[in-house]
Amino acid sequence: MFRLIEKKGYVSIVLILAIFITLGFILGYTLFKGNSNMITGAATSTVGNLTANVVTAVACTWSNAALNVSFGEGIAQSLSQGSIYNASKNYEGYIGAGAQNAGINWTLYNVTADVTNTDSINISIKGSHLLIGINTLGISNVTWMTNETNGNATDAAGNTHNFTYLGSFNSTIGPGQNFEGFNLTLINDGDPKLALRNRNFSNQLAAGSTVWFRFWLHVPRGQIGGRYVGNYTQTCTAATT
């Protein structure tokens, strides 16, 4: 009987040891598995004594005004309900010889694809609501347009509305009345129409090219007064094709 107990104790110890070893392997694998692979952003291939180092890169540069937007004129501008306001630098700056006198192609808001870009780029634009405390001025009240040369923003029907604040001619309602623009897409907004517009801020922008743009703000009737603050983000990505 004593021997049987002793044998049972021996079996228990061996079993415990086996479990500890298994546990050790599992923990060791979980905690200490290393990062065995390390690659760099540049693709390098070596065949014999021939080496090729291919570097791909994309970069964009924004005018200082483009990332520092305010609406209305003056330092302490106050905006009225039910009106549409230009961003303060919409009609400053100079972008083309022929258009200088016309005065319609002036804006300080622009983004340039760097000359070193190895890919043409797509630019998207998204924003967050303008807020003061618990009050919200929806981001879709902010409208943008690009110039027609390098921006190619089109609506769902394929119509271009670039840089035509008052809208292009419409046979039903006449000239200058069909202002639609492109409302800013809210970050995480799932609206497919807005997503289409979002993609089309600029497509296939070549290295060294610049897109000019303008913003407008519509202040809805009944909007609570206050100094609202919001932001937007433009993202440059290598074009897929």
């Binding site: 228990s12 952003g41 570097v55 994309v58 964009c60 990332l67 937007v69 609406f71 937007y232 433009q234």
Partner: protein
């Protein structure tokens, strides 16, 4: 004295002009990454971030789309000096970021796509501040696990470890109780 004042005013004027005409830029290299890993594999990628504007910028790193929550950055933020003109590749003042991607568990060959995003911060004090960002397209083909335990997620492994630990504790308790002659018994309470 008057000359000094004039020089000061002219200097301030030039500073103002340079601030007005300042630009903010950011670049990322490589512009796209295509790679293949196995489930649960961690892999490091080096991205070079550089400043194509003409003033120093603070850059924040993030991941979007299907890469969200699967990526770590070292460092997550960095400040960059402008690139000298004319810009060229590789960048002169660019800095490297290590991006660690951990592939999720996938039983079949699966592709996840996302972007590694470098964002230059918004200007403070504006009513509608903007941020400029560049994104590197990232496509990762994930193969089935190499070992059988790779089919398990970290949570499942942790749970399995806890169960094993519990079994060990029960065995040890039983062994000690047996040695000391202690035992539990279910006894019906008599009235």
């Amino acid at each position: 004295m008057v000359m000094n004042k004039i020089l000061f005013i002219v200097g301030m004027f030039l500073v103002c002009i340079s601030l007005v005409s300042a630009s903010i830029g950011v670049g990322i290299s490589p512009s796209k990454v295509l790679d293949q890993v196995v489930s649960k594999q961690e892999k490091n990628y080096t991205f070079t971030i550089y400043n194509t504007g003409d003033i120093p910028v603070l850059i924040k790193m993030s991941a979007s789309d299907e890469l969200e929550g699967k990526v770590r950055f070292y460092p997550e933020e960095l400040s960059l000096l402008p690139e000298p003109e004319p810009h060229r590749l590789p960048p002169v003042n660019g800095k490297d970021i290590i991006v660690t991607v951990k592939a999720p568990v996938s039983h079949d060959l699966k592709k996840i796509t996302g972007h590694i995003v470098a964002t230059a911060g918004a200007a403070p004090g504006s009513s509608f501040g903007g941020s400029g960002a560049v994104a590197s397209r990232f496509e990762l083909m994930i193969g089935p696990p190499k070992y059988f335990w790779d089919y398990m997620t970290d949570k499942q492994i942790l749970l399995a470890n806890l169960v094993i630990l519990l079994i060990i504790i029960i065995f040890i308790a039983r062994w000690i109780m047996k040695k000391k002659g202690i035992h539990f018994a279910l006894v019906k309470e008599e009235e």
